[in-house]
Every structure is written in structure tokens, then in C-alpha cells.
């Protein structure tokens, strides 16, 4: 049955107000949608990062579900321990079977980079967990340093646009495809701007037996440089330009869950963000072309996989 806001609005919120996320931050929007999607009890484990910090400043927690944070790189391993404990305590009759779900949430730092090994290990072991990456394309919590999710050309504090180097010189890692190569039951890309798509994907992810992974683009108004009210629009345009196609890989079958009617040029999306401002100065035209070419190739490849 299609997800409707009227039905979701009947549910209790899993994330309380009073967290310290920046005005216009996409992460709490994503988390609200994730928790609204899950009907069962759940335990959430976060990596170190913006989300963990803004939601758990002692003695204030925004989490209305059981929550654990251990370290930056260890959410996947930690949640695998939680899931295993649940399994064995159930087996030994020490707790009831409540159909509890186990959700790990990491930023791109804790997922693409420092936590990549732990994630790969946990999903290879087949734990019944959902790992969600809130990808804001840099280490935002520590002040906008590049990650392997930072797009080519972006200015960050460790890939600054300077007099001779125009921002990050490397293309981003295609993590979703890396995870799909683990041949786990469910992998998807989503964006909270497309809430129905995201919520449907989270519902599928918690329902499958075994590991599931969802990579969620999470625009950061501070790190990306745009006004806070544009968060949803920026997320949508990432999809419309095919910079961030939304799709799923269900038991190895690739499927686009939304196809833009007309693919917009990526420059339209880039020019709304301060982190790409320098690319629009004379002399940097070739970088824009390079970025567009790369998106075109990746989009072609994805369409082939989904056909």
C-alpha cells in the first residue's frame, strides 16, 4: 500500500524536538522519515558525527528509541553486537521476541571512509541489520573536510579552492555500488526530498532478512553553502540532474525508483552551492565539463544495470 502522510502523522515521532542540528539540516528530516517508516521496536546505533552530537548532548537526548553511540568507525560492528545479543537472549528465553529492528546510521566519514571496513565485515557476516548512510559529502562535524564522498570540484577545508588547485580533484567513491557488490538482499539510494520513495525503501530494508543498506543524500546548508530553506530543493535537484539517482537493488535486481522526465544540466545544481562557486569563474569551464561527462557516463551505466 502506498505510503501516505495522513497515516504517518498518526505515528509517534522517534526523534524529539530540542536537538541542536543547524536550522535547515537535512539529517533530522531523514531520521524522522526513517523512524516513521519503522513500525516495529528498534535500536539505533550512530557513528560519531553531526547526528550523534546534535541529538545526544548530555543530559538531553532527542532519541525516543534505544540508542547507542560507540565510536566513529564502529557503528556497523556495534549494531552487529546488538543484533546478535537480541538473537541469543531470545533463544535463551531471557527476552521476548518483539520483532525488534536494528538500525545503524553513519555519516559519509563513518561509512565511506573510516567505518568502511567494519561495514563491509558486518554485512558479509549477514547480520539482520539496516545500515543507513546520511551522506553530506564531507566531514561536516569537524568543519567541512573532504571525504571520499566529496564530489569532484567541491571546496572543502582540506580540498580548498585556491589559486592553483580548484577544489577536490577526485571523483567521489560510488559507495552504493561497492555495497551492492556484497550481494546483500537490499541496497538503495534515496533522498529525504522524495519522502515517499525514502520511506518505502526503509520499509523494504527492515523487512528483508539479512543486511540492508541505504545511502541517503543529506544536503548540508553550511558545508554546501546555500540558504537553509533550500535544503529540500537542493536534494530534489541532485536527483533531477542525475547527480544522485534514486534506485534500489533488490536481491541483485537493479531498478530506478524515479527517473527524471528531463535530465537537467548539473551546473544548475552546482551553481546554487557556495562550495562550487569557483567552478563558475573563467578558466574552469573544463572542470564543469568533466563533471557533466562523468555524470552522463554513470547515468548511462546505471540505466544499463536497471534495464
Amino acid at each position: 500500500m502506498a505510503v501516505r502522510l495522513k497515516d504517518l502523522a498518526k505515528k509517534p515521532e522517534g526523534l524529539a524536538s530540542g536537538h541542536r542540528g543547524c536550522a535547515g539540516c537535512m539529517e533530522p528530516i531523514a531520521v524522522r522519515q526513517i523512524l516513521l517508516a519503522i513500525d516495529n521496536p528498534c535500536v539505533v546505533c550512530c557513528t560519531t558525527g553531526c547526528l550523534e552530537v546534535v541529538t545526544t548532548i548530555f543530559p538531553f537526548t532527542a532519541w525516543k528509541v534505544p540508542f547507542i553511540h560507540s565510536a566513529f568507525e564502529s557503528a556497523a560492528a556495534t549494531i552487529s553486537g546488538v543484533e546478535t545479543a537480541y538473537k541469543v537472549l531470545k533463544k535463551r528465553g531471557k527476552i521476548k521476541d518483539r520483532g525488534t529492528k536494528f538500525i545503524a546510521i553513519g555519516g559519509d566519514g563513518g561509512t565511506y571512509d573510516i567505518g568502511f571496513q567494519a561495514l563491509s565485515g558486518a554485512i558479509e557476516r549477514g547480520h539482520d541489520i539496516v545500515y543507513i548512510c546520511l551522506d553530506n559529502e564531507a566531514y561536516m562535524n569537524t568543519g567541512i573536510q573532504r571525504s571520499s564522498a566529496t564530489p569532484m570540484g567541491a571546496h572543502t577545508t582540506t580540498s580548498p579552492a585556491g589559486k592553483v588547485i580548484p577544489g577536490k580533484r577526485e571523483f567521489r567513491k560510488d559507495l552504493t555500488r561497492c555495497i551492492a557488490s556484497h550481494n546483500i538482499p537490499y541496497v538503495a539510494q534515496a533522498v529525504p526530498s522524495k519522502w515517499r520513495d525514502l520511506i518505502t525503501k526503509v520499509k523494504k530494508a527492515v523487512e528483508v532478512k539479512g543486511p540492508a543498506f541505504i545511502n541517503i543524500l543529506s544536503p548540508c546548508r553550511l558545508g554546501w553553502g546555500y540558504p537553509p530553506e533550500d535544503t529540500i530543493e537542493i536534494g530534489n535537484e541532485a536527483v533531477e540532474t542525475c547527480f544522485w539517482p534514486i534506485y534500489e537493488v533488490e536481491d541483485g535486481k537493479w531498478r530506478l525508483t524515479y527517473k527524471p522526465k528531463e535530465k537537467k544540466p548539473v551546473s544548475e545544481w552546482l551553481k546554487k552551492q557556495g562550495r562550487f562557486k569557483h567552478l563558475f569563474k573563467p578558466g574552469n569551464e573544463s572542470i564543469l565539463e568533466e563533471i557533466q561527462d562523468h555524470i552522463d557516463q554513470e547515468w548511462e551505466r546505471l540505466q544499463r544495470l536497471c534495464s
Binding site: 526523534l15 524529539a16 530540542g18 536550522a23 524522522r32 548532548i57 543530559p59 538531553f60 540508542f67 535544503t231
Partner: protein, 96 residues
């Protein structure tokens, strides 16, 4: 947990917070420089503002919008911007 700063003997061990949602005791409304004004007349209760609010600051009752929770609203303006073009039931004004 009360807002009073407790001594080490009174705190739960391990840095634990023993109940969920205590952040509601922390009001973020003071961050606002722009304030959303909601129009009951114009609102169609499509709930778009609600699903996109980062701070769960859209007040609902029986799945209908009742207004804005200014205790927590940080004034980001997403609700006003995402309110459908034909409706535009939320307007951002300068906070005084």
C-alpha cells in the same frame, strides 16, 4: 532528568541517559531570526511542511496542522518554501 547540574554521586553510571526524548527540555526557538506565520485559512493540511520539518515543530492534531511550535522552530524556512505554490499558507517574517 532535571536541568539542575548534578554531582557525580547522583548521576546514572556510564554517561547514560535513562529516558528518551529529554531534548524537549531544551528549547531551540531562541535561534530563530525569521519566524514562520501559518495561515489557518489557506492551509490545506497536505502535511508537506510536517514531513520536511527538521525540528518536528509543526503542531498536529488529528493529522491536521494546528500551527508552529515556536519553542523549537529554528526558523529555517523549509516549511514556507515547500508549502505548495498554489497554497502558500506559511510566510516568513522578521523575528522581533
Amino acid at each position: 532528568m532535571s536541568l539542575k547540574t548534578k554531582g557525580w554521586r547522583e548521576l546514572p553510571i556510564g554517561g547514560l541517559i535513562l529516558e528518551g526524548g529529554t531534548s524537549e527540555m531544551y528549547k531551540t526557538g531562541g535561534w530563530r531570526s525569521l519566524k514562520p506565520i501559518w495561515s489557518e485559512e489557506k492551509c490545506t493540511h497536505c502535511l508537506t511542511c510536517w514531513i520536511y520539518c527538521p525540528d518536528s515543530a509543526i503542531l498536529l492534531s488529528d493529522e491536521k496542522v494546528q500551527g508552529i511550535n515556536y519553542d523549537y522552530c529554528k526558523g529555517c524556512g523549509i516549511c514556507a518554501k515547500e508549502c505548495p505554490t498554489k497554497v502558500k499558507a506559511i510566510e516568513m517574517v522578521e523575528e522581533r
